[in-house]
Structure formats: C-alpha cells, structure tokens
Symmetry: C2
Subunit: 376 residues, 2 copies
C-alpha cells in the first residue's frame, strides 16, 4: 500500500487526531482522546511486524501505524515508503527514548526477541507511552514484575500480545466455559507445536535471546488454552522434557509435556514442541466436548463440538482485533482483555514447568488465585 492509499484508508491523515467514522461527536469534544486513532510505534521489524502487525494496522479502527523502531537502517526506507512514515517517526534502539517527545505515538508495541521485552517495555513506559508487549511477556517473572511496576508508575496501560483473547473462535470457547455449555470442563488437552527446523541460527533457538525453546514460544499458547479452556488457573503442575534432536536443538527445549491440576478436580495435559506440527485445544465436560484445531495460528481457526456443530465465524485479522481492543481499553475504558498480570501469571507457570523438569517431574504447587483471569 502506498502513502496515498494509506492516507485515504485512515481518513484525514495518518497521524495524530483522525476522526473516526461512525463515532458520535459530542459538541466541543473534537480534541479529546476518544475521537482519535491512537498512534502505534512498532519496535522490531521482523516477520511478525512485517507480515502481521503492519498489515493489520491498515485495518484497525481505533489505532494506526505511527512510527517504527528498528536496528536495521535499510528497513527504514522500505517501511517509510510503504506506509508513509515521516522521518521524525523513525527511531533506532539508541534514540528510542526520544519517543517521549513525540505526541503522535500513543502506544509502543514491543516485538523484539523475548530477552529484550523488559528493557523496551520499561523504556516505553518511562516515555509515557502505553505498552503492548509481545508474548511471552519476558524471560522471567522478575522481568514481568519490573514491566508491570514501570507501567503502573508511569500510569500507562499494559497489554500482552495475546491476540487470541480478541479472536471470535477463542471467545466462543470462553463462552462455552463460562456458560458451562458442555458441563464444567473436566479435562483439557492442548498441543502447540511447529517444526522449527529450517534455520538453526534463528533467535528463538538461542537461549540468551529467547529465554527458552518451545515452551517460551508455543508453550505459552498451550498454557493459555489450558486456562481459558477451563476458566481457571491451575493449582499445580508437573512437567517432562524430551529431546530427540540435541544436535539441532542445542540450546533450548525441543519438546515439553506438562500436566495441570485444577482446584475443582479438572486436569490438563499439554504438549509443546519445536519438532512437531500442530496447534489444538480439546476440552471435555460431563455434557460433551469442544475443540479448536487449529487453535493458535493466525486463523481462520476451526472448531467443532460434540453436538456436531462446526464453530464458524467471519475471518478478520486477529492482530487488528487485538490492537483495536487495546485501543478501546485506552480510549473508552473497556476491559483490558490481556493485561500484564496475565503475561506474568503465564511466566510463573513457565518457570514452574522448568522447575518441575529440573526436579525430575516433581509436582510444583501454584498459588495463582484469579491472577490474569479476565472474566469479560
């Protein structure tokens, strides 16, 4: 999309206060925040920003691509040309903190390797910007705490890049759980895996950058599935690690299984891997079962239930829905569907899984209460 089309698409200009079609205009309120599209700065212009977030930001109603932050100078011109980003809205990792002075940026979306999340989220908060932190939120619970604290201190909103909470198939599953459509869920099985076998040099396979392997990458989806598939946080976890290709997966976990127990007697069994290809959620209650397969990819997802129904929704870019949900949370005070507490909770579980593996599969108790459970 060239600059002209981009400008046309978003309305009266691509930065700053764009009036939203269809929003009631209260007299004298033209300049208040709830009438503009929030400006998003993407930090890190890898595959996910390039093929998912930037295209999605051409479709969002409440936010738009305002700025980029990249460590690769040659990407600057490509993105500037493609999305009409003015020179003053292009940053690198060194001058990133100057975004504090840039009023066209409302939200910073950190899409960097996991080990860099905390640093850039905290710097974004200090710059007075709202923060979306891509999943996994960080590489330790301590880092999650630091991000949350920085956002609280700066009085900015914080969300984790859990796009599925804005996605209709997943929302339907959450409705089944809430309304006990198939009875209280008694067992949930979730697998989140893909073959990561084409590039041994990718950052995801380097512990220093990723913090871990399959579990940090896809495992977080399986953990999420186990929680929104039951509507509860687990009360304990056991885990096992498997390595069949130590030559390739030298530095990070290849395959992990984990079992959750829930306080009501439900249980879960998850698998995550960089050496298999599947993403699915399957849950069964006393009155039947439901499943998503695929459950975690960019969609459209697919779902079925024991009633013989196919779960079916119109496809929209998940990242569009996600970023609009966060923008609405900021603009209109709607619930934050994937708050920082949720990312921190999942990192507590990730650490418990690694601990269980380290201790030979020992049961690790979790004391999570309702942490990260968003009921709406």
């Amino acid at each position: 999309m060239d600059r002209r089309n981009f400008n046309k698409k978003v309305g009266q200009g691509f930065l700053g206060t764009t009036l939203l079609a269809g929003m009631p205009l209260a007299c004298g309120m033209e300049n208040t925040q709830n009438k503009k599209k929030l400006g998003i700065a993407l930090v890190g212009l890898g595959t996910y920003s390039t093929y998912e977030l930037a295209p999605s930001l051409q479709e969002t109603e409440h936010c738009q691509l305002a700025a980029i932050v990249t460590g690769t100078p040659e990407k600057e011109k490509i993105w500037a040309d493609k999305y009409g980003i003015p020179k003053e809205n292009i940053y690198n990792y060194e001058n990133f903190d100057e975004i504090a002075k840039n009023d066209s940026i409302d939200i910073v979306y950190v899409v960097l390797p996991n080990s860099m999340h905390a640093d850039f989220c905290i710097r974004a908060a200090k710059a007075g910007k709202h923060v979306i932190c891509e999943k996994p939120m960080a590489i330790s619970v301590l880092e999650c705490n630091a991000i949350i604290e920085a956002c609280n201190k700066a009085n900015v909103k914080l969300s984790v890049g859990y796009r599925l909470h804005s996605e209709p198939y997943t929302k339907e599953i959450k409705r089944f759980v809430k309304e006990k459509t198939f009875g209280e869920v008694q067992y949930i099985s979730a697998d989140a895996a893909y073959f990561s076998n084409t590039n041994p040099n990718q950052w995801r396979l380097k512990r220093k950058l990723s913090g871990g392997g399959a579990l940090m990458n896809m495992g977080v989806y399986a953990i999420q599935s186990a929680i929104y598939g039951t509507g509860m946080n687990p009360s304990n976890v056991r885990a096992q690690e498997f390595s069949t290709r130590p030559d390739y997966f030298k530095d990070t976990d290849e395959t992990i299984t984990a079992q959750f127990e829930f306080s009501n007697g439900a249980f879960g069994n998850i698998m995550t891997s960089h050496n298999a290809n599947i993403n699915r959620l399957f849950a069964t209650g006393k009155k039947g079962w439901f499943e998503l397969n695929p459950a975690n990819n960019y969609g459209p997802l697919k779902g079925r239930t024991s009633k013989g129904d196919e779960i079916k929704f119109e496809h929209e870019r998940q990242q569009k829905l996600q970023m609009d949900d966060f923008a609405k949370h900021i603009l209109m005070g709607t619930p934050n569907v994937a708050p920082g507490e949720m990312g921190k909770r999942d990192m507590i579980i990730v650490e418990a899984i690694y601990q269980s593996i380290k201790e030979g599969g020992k049961t690790i108790p979790l004391d999570l209460g309702n942490m990260g459970i968003v009921s709406k």
Copy 2:
C-alpha cells in the same frame, strides 16, 4: 431372539458343522473344519457378553454362540431360552474343564474380571480349545507369559479381545501410518477415559479383581492407539498419576498420563481416566494430521484428516468383525490380528507405567522390538 429365529439365522442348526453360504465347497471336503462355523463358549455373562458379544454372535459368519459358562445359575435359563443353548453346553466355573469333551466348542472367549483371565485361559487351552482373552490380557506380564505358554503347549490359537484391529476406522488409521499418507507420524495424542462414578462396588474399582484402575481398563486403548497410530513400539515411557476423588477411587488409579518416546524421534502423550469422558486418537506427521473421535467405543467411530476429509465406513458390530477375524485365522490361516504377544506387550507397558509412577515419573526403558506389531 428366540431359538427358532436363531436357528433360522445361522442356517442348518446352531451347533457343530454349519455350512457357510458363499464358501466354495470342495468335493469330498464337506466335513473338514474350514466349512463349519466355529462354536464359541462365552465365559462370564456380564454386560459385555450380554449386550455386545452374544448379539454379535448372531451376525458372525465364521463362528457362533455354542456354549455359556457362568457362575450365576439364574442366567442359565435366560440365556438358554434366548439363544437356544442346550443343557449340555451350559457350564459353571467348577465344571468348566469338562468342555474338553465337548466337540461343539472350538473357541473359549474369557470375559471375566481381569484377575481371572489367566486361570480360565490356561484351563481353556488345556481343554484343547482356542482362546480369546478379553483385554487387558491379564493383571501381570507373568500371567501373560503363562497364558501364551499354555496355548503354545496345547497347540491352540490365542487372541486378545482387541476388537479395534478388526474395525474399519482403525484399519484406515493403520493404513495412513503404513503408507505415510500424512508423513511419518511425529506426535500422537490419545485419551481414553470415561466417568466411572455410578457404582463404587463394581469389580473394575477393586484392585484384587481388576489389577488396576483406569490404566488397566481404558489405558490399554490409549497404549494401543499410541502404537498403531505410529506403527511402532515405544522405546521408553514416563508416567504420572492424579487423584482428585480418593474417596471414590479408593483402591485403583483414577487418572494417569504417560509419555512415550519412539526410536525414530516420534513421541506420544496419553491420558486415561475413570473421571473424565473421552476417547480419541490424534496423530500428526510432516504432511498433516488424522484423528478418530470417538476412537475406542463400540462405534461407529468418527474420523477426520487435515485434508478436510471425513473418514467414513459402514457400521458393523466390531465384535462380530473381531470374532470372525479370529475364526478365519483358525479356519483359513489368515493373520491373527491381535495375538497374545500383543496383549503381553501392552501389559509390559502397563507395568512400566506403574513403575514410572512409583519411581516419581522416572523414564522406564522398554525393549520391545516389534513385539505384538502385526503388519497386515
């Protein structure tokens, strides 16, 4: 079905040498074994014999219900009336060994509680009868060995009641695996569970009779799924036990998960429970996935693949197909699709799972080779 209809159904009489419609009659061979329906004696007239095996034996082509063995005198008349069984073909557990003198009995199908399998299978073999042993084959590997040895010594055939090996959906899965339709299977997930919460006094919940809980009962299906879903025996196993209702499941395991590794790098994750309701098999290779859900019940099963296909076959009683397969094995030398070695192999895995649990989830190596793998 009364005696008249029964006789009508099976042709020229319900015992002894019934000519099979459609079988070529070689001149002068009227009296050889390959032209008669083999007579089956059901040992134990519980739910499975009553509602599955006896009705199936009204539809079998190569075998028929010839005799009953029961410890409950009042069942004698009910069965005799319903299926036209003559007095001389009705036995109890004490006079059971007299079947040796009864030429109308070719096969003894042992449908008793697990702890009684070995005793009655061995007595059947000693009586010179072929043996079908319901699953699980016994309550220990030692007992499996004793059954196999007794059958070998008596030169009689032995099969385990693994009806699914005769069932078309399962056979289709085995074809996918053999032909690598979805690539070599890399991951298999199998869950086999049902709510066993209506009768705390059932024999399945008493260790002395069952030898174990969910694992002995449904778990064997999940083990089977993991093996025919990959076409290989696992090279090791780890396992975990979960108990949420110790008040009800006092004496036997409620829920068990286990992970298998295979020598080619594939892995499996199974769950079995008496406190959840599901039976399914899901397998994924590099070219796609396939699943059965349900995978283990009396059918019709249901299956789907990543190609968007539904797996679809005409429904026939699985037990009919199973018993006819065994009769054909005896009569025509076709492969024994569920030989004793298969039941023994699964019991080796069951014991390894219990051992892993006992040792806190330790990896238990399995040295199975191709034991129990029937390639046809």
